[in-house]
Every structure is written in C-alpha cells, then in structure tokens.
Symmetry: D2
Subunit: 283 residues, 4 copies
C-alpha cells in the first residue's frame, strides 16, 4: 500500500516590476514564488481540485498585492502574501522574493546593478506563525592574496602542493534567519551584506572554511536581529599558470580561472541564544 | 557568543569519462560531487587544516576509483567512494553521481542521448551505514490531451477559466529511495523510469498533482526495492492562442509555450512499510 | 555627419506548439524568429512608425500561419512567412525556425528527444527571391578512438605532446544551403544528418579539420539539392588523467571532460558548381 | 567535386586572470579567443598538420603574453597577440578579449561589478594590417517612462494597442569600429559607454529604433576615433498587468517582465567619412 507524503504546490517565478511614480520614479524588480501546503489529499488521490487555489490565482495575487502595497521592501511583500494564503484548507505558505538591483541613472532611468540577487523567504504556518529568512546570492568576491592553504590531511591520493599565497574567490550565497518578523529590512540587509564583505576582505585566510566562519560571525555581530547564517561558498579555483617552459617567471601574477570541478564549502553559524528554527528553513 | 552549526565541504562536479575498451567500447560519462562532514571545528575556528583532506585529493580519488572499478553502474561508484571517505575524522560522506546518456553509433562511436540525466546519491555515515537514492531529472514529457482542470477553489483573485482539454507537460525530476544498498541498479533504473513514463502517458489527468501521485505509485509498484519517491514536476504551461481576431478557430491546435511563471508541483509517495529514511535525504 | 547603415528588426523566439489531432496526434514544437528590413529610415531618424509593422503583429502572424498551414515541415512555415512579410515598405525578410524533437510515447504522448535542434532559415528578398538554409546544432558526438594528433607546427610556446589515440568529441553545428526553395525537406534533413554522423564515425581522424571536411563532403555527396555546408565544430577536449602518482596505469581509459578553453574549428565545404549564395547567409 | 571554402580555427575562451602586485593590486579578468586562417588546405584534405599551430599552443601564448605585457588594456593584449600569430602560413588572426569588471573593495580585494562585459576584437591580416573593434554587451538599461509607441503600420494580424507611456528596457549590445589601431583605449571605452547611457536616458522615445540611432550617433559624436557603431537592442518587454478584474487601477505601476518572445532591433550608425571597414567585422 502507498501513502502520500509531504507535498506542496504553487506558482514559481512571477516576474513582477513595480514603478512608483514619485518625483523620482522608484523601481522594484522582483521574482516571486509561492508554495502552499495543507489538506491536499483529494487532489492527489482522485484529482478533486476543490481545495486547489489555482497557481494562476496565486500569480494574480502577487500582482494585486504589488499594486496595493506600493514601494515596499521585498520582505514586506513576502510577509503579506504568505499571511494571505494561509486559510483553510491551506495550512502553510512559503513565499520567496528575489530582488534584482538597479542603479539610478536619472529621474526615471536605471541600469542593472551587479549580478548579485537580494532574496528573502517567509514561511507562514497556521500553527507556528511567520518566520523570515533574508539573504544574498551570486555576490562574487576575490582576494588576490592573504590566502594560504597548507598543513592539510594527506592520503595516498594527495598530490596537491602547499601554498602560502593564492587567490581566494567565491560567489557568496548567504541566507540569514531573523529572530522575529518585524525588522528594519533595509538596514538589516545593508549591514549584513557589508559585514560579509568586510569579513571576506579582512580575514587573513588559511582555508575557505575559516573565512566562512568569520563571515557568518560578522553578520551575527553586526545585526542582532539575525540569529543564524547559512553560507554556501564555492571555491572558485584560480590556478597559477606554469610559465617555466617559456623561460618566464610567474610570481603569482598569471592565473587561469577554472570552471569545474570546484570546491564547495557549506556551513551554518548560530548565535548561542538562537531560538529553535521551527519551519524557517524547510517548509 | 557564536557556534558552528552543520557544515560540510567537498569537490563538486568532477567530470570524469571512462572508456572500457572491450570489443565494443563502453562509455561512462559522469559528473561526481563529494561532500564530507565530521570533526571540522578547528578549520572553521582557527584555520587549522589538519583534518581537511583537500578537495583536490577527493578529485584524484574519483579518478582513481573510476579506473579501478571499471565499467560499473554509477551507484557502485558512489557506494565505493562514500565508503572510502568515511574514516576518522570524517564521519559522513555524501557522493552524488550524475550519468549522461549516450547512444551507440558504432563500435567506438556515440551520440549524446536526450537531455535527461540519471542520478544517484549515496550517504555513508559512520554510525548509520549507507543509504542510496536514485533518480532521473530533466525528463521532458508532454500529453496533447487527456488533461482537464476544473472544479478548483476560487477567490477574489481568480480569473482562470475551466478547461476540459489542455496540454500537460513537465520536466520530470524524480528521486527514489532504496530499501537497501544492494540492488540490480540497471534494472531498477530502467523499470522505475519506464513506470514514470507509463503512468504519465496512461493517467487521464484532472490535475498535475493526480498525475504526480500516479507516477510515484507506479514506481513503488514496479520496483519493490524502492520505498519512497520524491517528485518535483514543473507545470510547463502551454496556453491556447486566441486566433479569433483573425477570423480563425483554434480547436486546441495552436499553443504558445510559456517560460515563466510556471506551476511547481512537489510531492512524496511512500510505501506503507517504508523504513525510516535516516540520513538518506539530507546528509 | 552621421548615416544609418544596415538595419533590421523583428520578433525573436516565438515559442509556438502545434498539435494536429489526427488518429495519432502530431506535434510540432517551434521557436520562430523574424527579422525585417526595408525603408525604415524615418523610424530611426525621427521615430515615425508609419512603416513599422509591430513585432507583436509578427508574432500574431506566426501563430495564424501555424494554424493555417497545419502539420508542415519547418521550412514550409519559414518560406510562407518570409514571402508574406515582403511587401512595400519591407524589402527583405529573414525567418528562422528551430524545431525541437519529440519521441512518440503513445497516441498523444511524447518525450523530448535529444538536445539537438533542427533549424532552418529563409531569406526572402523583393529582388532576389527566396533562399533556404537548413541545419542542425547541438548534436553531440564522440569517438573513443581512431583519432590522432601529431606532426603539428611548433613554436616557442608549444608544449603539447603528440598523441596517436585520443577521444574526439564535438557538438556539431551545421548549416547547409539549398540550391532551390523546393525540396523534400524531410528527406533532405534526414539524409544530411545521417551523412554527418556516418562521416564522423567513419573517418579515421588526424585532425578535427579533416573530420570537418569529410562531414561537409558527405552531406554534399548524399544530398544533391545542397550546394554548401558550413560547419562549426568545437573540439570538446577530453584529457587523459595522470594516474601514475597512485601507481596506476591509464591506457586511454580515464579522462576528464574540460569545459574551457576549447578548440573551435570552422569551415565551409562547397560543391564546385554551387551557385552564388546571394543573400542566403547574411540578410 | 567539392571545394574547401573559408575556414579558421583556434582556441576559444581562455580564462586568464592577471594580478599586478603594485601597492594596490590591479586585477584583469579576461576571456580570450583566437581564430587563425591561412594556408590550411592540407589539414582539411588529408589531415596533414604541418601548418597547424596547436590550439594548445595558442592558449600558452595567451598566458605568456599576459605575463609579459603586464597591466594593459584588453585592446593592447588583442593587438599584440594578433600581430604575433600572423606569420606564414597564417595569413590572418582574429583575437577577441572580453573583460569582466571588478569593483575595488580594498588593496587586494574586489567584488564583481555588473554583469556587463567590455569586449574588443582585433583582426590582423598579412595584407590589410590591423583593425580594432571595441564594445560592451549585456548592459541592461530601463526607462520607466518617456517612451511611446503608436502610429505604426497595421495589417490583418495587428491587435496591438497604441501606447503613450511604456517601460523601455534593453540589454545593450554595442560594437564600435575604430579608425586606427592606436587610441587611448580607456578613455574611448569610458566615453563611448557613457554616451550610450546618456542617449538612452535622454531620448524621449517613439520607438526603440529611434533610441538606437540616437545611441549610435552619440558614440560617434563623443569619440571621434570611432567611425561606426553596431547596435543590437533586444526590446525586453514589460507588459502592464490588467488589475481591473480585482477592482484595482493600474496607472503604469505594475508590469510583468516577459522572457520570450522579445523584439530584436539591430542597426549600424556610421560617420559619413567612415573608411571602408575592410576585414574589421568579419575575418
């Protein structure tokens, strides 16, 4: 016999752009995804859609809330949408909002900023209430020095040489969990992002894991409203090119940037007094 | 104060190709990723790498094992690698192997088959032993009819009309958990994949959730060695084009294939007697 | 002073799917792009759109023609659309149709075939008439042996060793020019594609350039209606892994598949009596 | 009988990074591609590689020149490399250098700037000498107003309404041809890029073609060393969402950003006294 396990459904990647026509136009460029769960057994077992609010309706709701809410932070949109969707038979809603950055060129003109994406995710549960995760991804950073790697474990498959000066580069993917659902979202994002950068720049690194821990700790120190940081840091290898065959030195000047394989370093850093995450991480 | 939470590290996306030079050459085209965890506090806190087996060594190990093992199924490679990496101070290893398919053109010639990817993932834990998940992703399927969607919930944001004949298309992402780590891997993959296709084709569908449940149930029925199936099915919308402005009918003939947004339907289907997953899903 | 040079505009990537509801449903999955040129100076110089047929209209036209024409080959759609758009003030139209392949699973069910794309491009010029180019791209092929590379030129930057046995792999991108605009399109595509594969498989190769020339020649020999073939063949490097540090041999068995950089081999092969291409290649 | 037509070969996408260890480290992040042509008939016809300088050697040459030249502009690297490769039997070399931008975070620390790519391409021909093209691509820009579209041509497939206020957005792809191969490359790029932005921002637009022409003209006016500009401007549609079903107005505030299809506007703008392009555009 067979049982239905955890399940959810929703509309993904609603690309909504909001222009607020103040003296200077404000621009919000969002990618919104919704996932709902609840009493959805009938649709799975017999195709009865009576409890299924169409994903098309969810899309419409994103548009309508974007209009109604005005020029708000993405966390506010996510909170409002998630709260809206939780009503019988839907017991839990997860809303993710990615915000793409634009640099102002004029009163109504913009150029797309860096490829990094500000993100947030709200889980609202009928029983447990709302939790908020913020973050940034695809934030590429690189130190040309102040990075070493030596003293590592060795086995019969180890050929890597030790290095006392290497490039350290990564595309930062960070998510941070807030203690509550009421915060100064602009300040929290800005301070957390800057703490990540400062720690990356300021850490004399003996391993990317060490840098990761410093980055996570820095966010916790800088933003008390945040109690946990999850970091995924690909080690984007830059290998020194051997120029000796051409009679040339290479004193850590010429590297090739490799695509694959890459190192992948993942870790969580928590405040000692972090409350239980509840449903924050996995709805 | 701050604490280190769950963490892991490893080499991702080692692109190894193995040729076995039998009378007819055999080809294996793999993408292998390794993630290790254990007593790694020192490297995070003070940059002491004594417990860190370099990800470069992990890459070398993938190559060496590929050579030694010969023309094996990807699950065998993953099991052997994962078992190898678990030794003090590493308490847990996760090894993922994606296998790209090739169609034989001749004794030593091949053309890349469809874009679908066969995947497997082994978690080996010093305490809990090994668990195996198999699967397929990016398997695109489409029914031109026998799909309806009506009788759904409505609210103030619902504008969608009911339909009694639509295209149903998805890019199947399925992972299935095995009851043990000793199975006929070729047969299990082939039968599970065919069960997915047969259920997609054979289900007269009133919702993609219903089709998902039928697909998961079919895998469980066809492969007793599998006890749980996780499906993620994007609803790749095909919208009927309105040709009335040009004086033309459109009796479910001309559609446009939309990119975004898309529906996202996720669900697990379990055998009633499925053992506890342990670490199978999240290492 | 400044002058307007060559220009064109149009709607790109109209993703249209046509279902023909015969006893067995037929499926066409197309990506259609239109580019028009002609007397378009006013719109560039002063923003006068009187000569600009909106790209939205072009999109509608693609849909309407797809409905009217029925289950035709992509070349027929491209020819009909291109002919339609050429009328004063539009002097020239280029229509590109990519066709994605699907494998039949049942009377109304399909699975996406390989990632390769069949393509065609029609240029219709008010003066010169219509020309047709067909082709295929992203057709990945690989020989595990029968490929050598030695006896090459050397200079002070050459470190590459000679090899008498290597993997030869490419993602074939081929375009072929037809002598006329009336052909058996199904047969021409099928025979040309098979000729490419047969030549790749059957050529004992001393360089990818040699294989390219054989592939182009084979198409010309197999399809008299084709007078010129343009090939772009990335050399998808597979490098032998050095296993000696682990005390293991590697008799051309274990390779790593590199992403970048890659070789890029481009060449045209023409029938001696090929007519002038006119506007076939660049509208 | 069959003939070999135009052909070329080379190494593509050599990802080289150069660190110049001044008091503040300088960073160059390049993607270099080489294409050579000349007397290459023997390799195509009989696989004789005597005239083939391996693409691996070309890669090595990129590395060595990067070391030797130091912290130069990408145009300098391309000029030096192209000149180097042209010697019997190679009659022509094309070298493309893409430069990825990084923002300084500290003396040896950087964050990746916007996704836009600065590019340049040098063609060096044994007979015709060197020509230089510069440019930028993936520069995303958006005006929230000051864009109209009306008074366009209509036919039986036209359903588009006129608009007097729309979002105008594009991802600018611009290439510009220099009159000579000796210029202040930093200034030329900076001034040309700014001219593109200023023209996009400052043009009250009745069509994207008009904006294109203004952008090209602005580059020519700002940088006399440039004689021709080629622009490819996708019209990244933002469609107004209909909120009337929910009883809400939408005074040009809420849009959805569409992926496909998209408009594609291409055009050249030339100085009246532009010299013949020779081989600048197509080697």
């Amino acid at each position: 016999m067979v049982t239905l396990g955890p399940n959810r459904y929703g509309k993904a990647e609603v690309r909504v752009v909001r222009v607020t026509r103040d003296a200077e136009h404000q621009l919000r460029d969002w990618n919104v995804s919704v996932a709902l769960s609840g009493d959805l057994e009938a649709v799975h077992l017999v195709g009865d859609n009576a409890h299924v609010l169409p994903t098309d309706t969810q899309k419409n709701t994103v548009y309508a809330f974007t209009q109604r809410l005005g020029d708000v932070e993405p966390e506010v949109l996510a909170l409002e949408l998630a709260a809206h969707f939780v009503r019988d038979p839907i017991a839990r809603a997860r809303v993710t909002v990615d915000q793409f950055g634009w640099t102002r060129l004029g009163g109504h003109s913009f150029a797309r900023a860096s490829a990094e994406v500000r993100t947030c995710r709200v889980v609202n549960d009928a029983g447990a209430g709302a939790s908020v995760v913020g973050g940034v991804r695809d934030l590429m950073v690189l130190n040309t020095t102040d990075s070493e790697f030596w003293g590592f474990a060795r086995d019969e498959y180890t050929t890597l040489g030790e290095t006392h000066d290497r490039i350290l580069a990564s595309s930062v993917n960070a998510l941070w969990r807030f203690r509550s659902d009421a915060n100064d979202w602009v300040a929290a994002f800005g301070v957390a992002r800057q703490a990540l950068l400062d720690a990356f720049v300021g850490t004399y690194s003996y391993s990317l894991q060490q840098t990761l821990y410093e980055m996570g700790s820095a966010v916790l120190a800088a933003v008390p409203a945040i109690c946990e940081v999850r970091l995924v840091l690909p080690n984007k290898h830059h290998f020194l090119v051997d120029l000796a065959p051409f009679g040339m030195a290479n004193e850590n000047e010429v590297y090739y940037a490799a695509d694959r394989p890459f190192g992948q370093i993942e870790g969580n850093v928590l405040a000692d007094n972090a409350p239980d995450p509840g449903l924050a991480w996995d709805c």
